[in-house]
């Protein structure tokens, strides 16, 4: 039980050749809390600023082609960037010595979920590296600030083109407000839908957010990402009964500081965290305790995560949560040394979880049985079979199952693997076993 929870509930399963010890399993997870969660820069993955440059280059290519009345340029969008980002995450999953960090990254990128359609795809990976990973064991406020003002989020929720109707540019260009980011900031990222805010609050937050933008039009400009006072709605605002005096960029800073330490935020954020890692049957006291700790520590996610890992219920709650496709793909890469076929992107799409492309800003579903549906389960089997068919060399599934699942390996699964008609079928059954599919 402890070994399985350490490997699967808080990690991505065993690495190929790894023989984790059941007695040290919990300590090995806790030890990861003192490691840095920041990733070193990778040469082929764009930062936010490089994403802007890429986007501008694409736009300029298109407009040149249009000017010359050539055939329209085929606009490939950010899909190549997204593919490289995925390859990078699969490689991390395969080799990481801190798989807990990879799982935290999956959780927090789902908390601040993006969909890839359109421009935000140039920046989704950058947002994870720049705004999420450095703060996963730091302060929630820093993550919230980073994500809210990141080009990925500004593009995704239309804030780049939200103008204060009374701002200089809003008046000059006759443009106005877009309330999309304001709403999701309150509903999904901080207070939660039951957090006690009104439509008037949403509009006020949208006004505070005006000016936070990304400029991608050609021509010289000192600053492309960040706060542009010419788009900002002037004046004081009132949110949740509190007055925020006019202060340009400082108005948002003040609002985010308050939202990050609001009791509704503490409740919403910790509830989602517990639901992701432990599932629907976690005792309510666990999330309540974490919410209180969140408030006491001003949103210290390191302390909150440690408390989650040290709580006995985190290790004893029965493993009922069906793992989402992204975990299966990452886990298989880790356990089987990154088979490249079937391709990870295609696999995730087929199993219903397109990479960096959540169905809505609310992210992927978290209910224990959200993925237990006929098509989803059958496609998992088709995926596992194709994966096992392509493995070369093919590892022996029998000792692998013993190492991976420890005392959680059921006699029935052991027998099914032993009696398989061949090594590839045995590997398929291992990948499809309840021990691999649920955590």
């Amino acid at each position: 039980m402890t070994l399985h929870a350490a490997l699967f509930r808080f990690g991505l399963g065993p690495r190929l050749g790894e023989a984790p010890s059941p007695s040290g399993a919990q300590a090995a997870v806790l030890a990861q809390l003192s490691r840095s969660t920041t990733l070193p820069a990778a040469a082929d993955l764009p930062s936010a600023a490089e994403g802007v440059a890429q986007l501008m280059a694409t736009r300029s290519q298109i407009s040149t082609a249009n000017r010359n009345q050539q055939q329209p340029v085929r606009f490939s969008g950010p899909s190549r960037t997204s593919l490289r980002e995925l390859a990078h995450r699969v490689e991390l999953a395969r080799t990481s010595e801190t798989p807990l960090h990879e799982r935290l990254a999956l959780h927090w990128t789902n908390h601040f979920a993006l969909t890839r359609a359109g421009t935000s795809g140039y920046f989704a990976g950058a947002m994870e590296r720049e705004a999420i990973r450095p703060h996963m064991l730091g302060h929630f406020h820093a993550m919230l600030r980073g994500c809210t003002t990141h080009p990925a989020m500004l593009f995704f929720l239309n804030n780049v083109s939200s103008y204060g109707p009374n701002s200089a540019d809003g008046q000059r260009r006759q443009r106005g407000l877009n309330e999309n980011l304001g709403r999701e900031l309150l509903e999904l990222h901080t207070l939660g839908v039951d957090g006690g805010y009104t439509q008037a609050d949403v509009l006020e937050v949208a006004r505070i957010l005006t000016g936070w933008t990304v400029h991608v039009e050609s021509g010289a400009r000192e600053q492309r990402i960040g706060f542009d006072p010419a788009m900002h709605e002037p004046g004081a605002r009132t949110v949740l009964g509190k007055r925020y005096p006019e202060g340009g960029a400082a108005q948002l800073e003040a609002l985010l500081a308050d939202l990050a330490r609001h009791p509704a935020t503490a409740r919403h954020v910790t509830r989602r965290l517990v639901r992701h890692f432990i599932g629907d049957t976690a005792p309510p006291a666990l999330a309540q305790g974490l919410a209180a700790l969140f408030l006491r520590t001003d949103g210290d996610l390191g302390a909150v995560t440690r408390a989650l890992l040290e709580h006995p219920a985190s290790w004893s709650t029965p493993r009922l949560k069906a793992r989402p496709p992204v975990e299966l793909v990452f886990s298989a890469a880790r356990m089987l040394d990154a088979p490249s076929r079937p391709a990870p992107r295609r696999s995730m799409l087929a199993m219903g979880q397109a990479w960096q492309d959540a169905p809505s800003p609310a992210g992927w579903p978290e209910a224990d049985d959200a993925w237990v549906a006929p098509d989803s389960v059958k496609t998992r089997l088709d995926w596992a079979l194709q994966l096992a068919a392509a493995l070369d060399p093919l590892p022996d599934a029998r000792p692998l199952a013993e190492r991976a699942f420890g005392d959680a390996l059921s006699p029935q699964t052991r027998q099914a693997i032993q009696r398989a008609e061949g090594g590839r079928q045995a590997m398929t059954l291992l990948l499809m076993s309840p021990e691999f599919q649920r955590r």
Binding site: L157, N178, E179, N180, Q199, A373, P374, S376, P434, Q437
Partner: protein, 404 residues
């Protein structure tokens, strides 16, 4: 091992053993009707003023500022003050044949502006949001369907990887979506089923049904190595509709199904005629056409309902899009529909007539529309519609004369 061989033989006939062989006929002894109902949920909030613009409302131009909808050829007149977006020629043809009905200025009881809550309320059919475990009204309706003699309970179908809320509940629901892998062989399925039956009944049930659906889809597995791009999902509308029609047209096929289509949350640059929303409406139109074609043999006894969680702001926002609103529209199509009409107690688009000064004011509750369909098409009785299907809605009378 002998039981495995037995299983393998059984699995050769998966389609009949686990599939539609058990599916119900809904017809009662007294009637020769065999009704089918398919609900399409448009997720994101459809802009009804772009799909079926009330061009004859004197306040339309000042309220909406949408000259593109005024351009020659941008719309087809539907009679009265309403017109239909030019991207929906199949719908226009069905309307002309009196097989399509528009209900305008509708809304669920939801008055907030969250997609997720709005969809929850639309799908669960309760008067207010509730937390905790919920079921969907379509599933509760399935549970009350009149049964044929000596036949097991009916099942629902969802064209999706997982069951959407509208279809969640006590009645078993099968899910199916287009496939990109080679299908697993029957022997591996049988062995895994054995393991799941011993260890994990929920996974067993899901796998058994998934395998039966693949087998019944009669569609060769794609194995061309092509990488389907999530950037171009719109062609998939028609593909999903074609598959749903294929399942439902079978004599032993499911009688009630749900499909969801996304992409309606048009906050910026929505392009109602020749832009993004125009293309999405065209894709929806192709899907409606695919349903009419695929269900042709049973079209006379079919209702397709198109619903969405809410409408959008009447005014265009600062980014040439529209934000979350309230009043929207619903569509009913099919040979069983008394179509060729736009039903609306039209509230008007004058500034004083808008809800909260910004939204199309709803005058028809979507539950009244669906109660009318369930009563007239599926034969459910009013009392249970007001208590079990749409709880606490007894005072809300079903809309009559929609079907027949």
């Amino acid at each position: 091992m002998t039981h495995l061989i037995g299983r393998r033989l059984a699995l050769a006939g998966l389609g009949t053993l686990f599939g539609w062989g058990f599916a119900p006929r809904l017809s009662s002894a007294a009637s020769s009707r065999d009704p089918r109902l398919l609900v399409l949920v448009l997720r994101g909030g459809l802009d009804s003023l772009a799909a079926v613009p009330p061009l004859g409302d004197p306040a339309f131009d000042s309220a909406r500022q949408a000259p593109e909808l005024r351009a020659a050829g941008a719309t087809t007149p539907l009679g009265g003050i309403f017109a239909l977006n030019r991207n929906m020629p199949r719908l226009a043809a069905l309307y002309a044949q009196r097989q399509a009905l528009v209900v305008h200025a509708v809304a669920s009881p939801y008055r907030g502006r969250s997609h997720f809550d709005g969809q929850d309320l639309l799908e669960c059919g309760y008067p207010d949001l509730v937390t905790g475990s919920r079921t969907g009204w379509l599933n509760r309706a399935l549970a009350l369907l009149p049964r044929g003699d000596r036949l097991p309970a009916p099942k629902g179908l969802a064209i999706a990887a997982t069951v959407p809320l509208i279809m969640r509940g006590a009645v078993p629901v099968e899910t199916w979506q287009r496939q990109v892998f080679r299908y697993a062989d029957d022997d591996t399925i049988a062995r895994l089923l054995d393991l799941y039956e011993a260890r994990d009944p929920a996974l067993a049930e899901a796998l058994r049904t998934g395998a039966a659906l693949d087998s019944a889809s009669m569609r060769p597995a794609a194995d061309d190595g092509a990488d389907p791009s999530p950037n171009t999902p719109r062609a998939d509308f028609a593909a999903d509709a074609t598959a749903a029609a294929r399942f439902m047209a079978r004599p032993d096929g499911p009688r009630v199904a749900a499909i969801s289509y996304g992409g309606w949350d048009t906050h910026a640059d929505q392009g109602s005629v020749s832009g993004r929303l125009g293309r999405n409406l065209a894709a929806l139109d192709q899907a409606l056409g695919a349903l009419a074609d695929g269900l042709a043999p049973v079209w006379a006894d079919t209702v397709v309902a198109v619903v969405t969680e809410f409408g959008r702001t009447v005014r265009v926002n600062g980014t040439r899009g529209t934000d979350h609103g309230v009043g929207t529209m619903a569509l009913l199509l099919g040979g069983a529909v008394r179509g060729g009409r736009v039903l609306a107690d039209w509230p008007g688009l004058g500034q004083q007539q808008l809800l909260e000064g910004r939204d199309l004011a709803p005058t028809t509750d979507i539950r009244a529309v669906m109660k009318g369909v369930l009563a007239e098409h599926l034969g459910l009785d009013d009392a249970r519609l007001g208590t079990e299907i749409f709880p606490q809605s007894a005072a809300l009378r079903p809309l009559r004369n929609l079907i027949g």
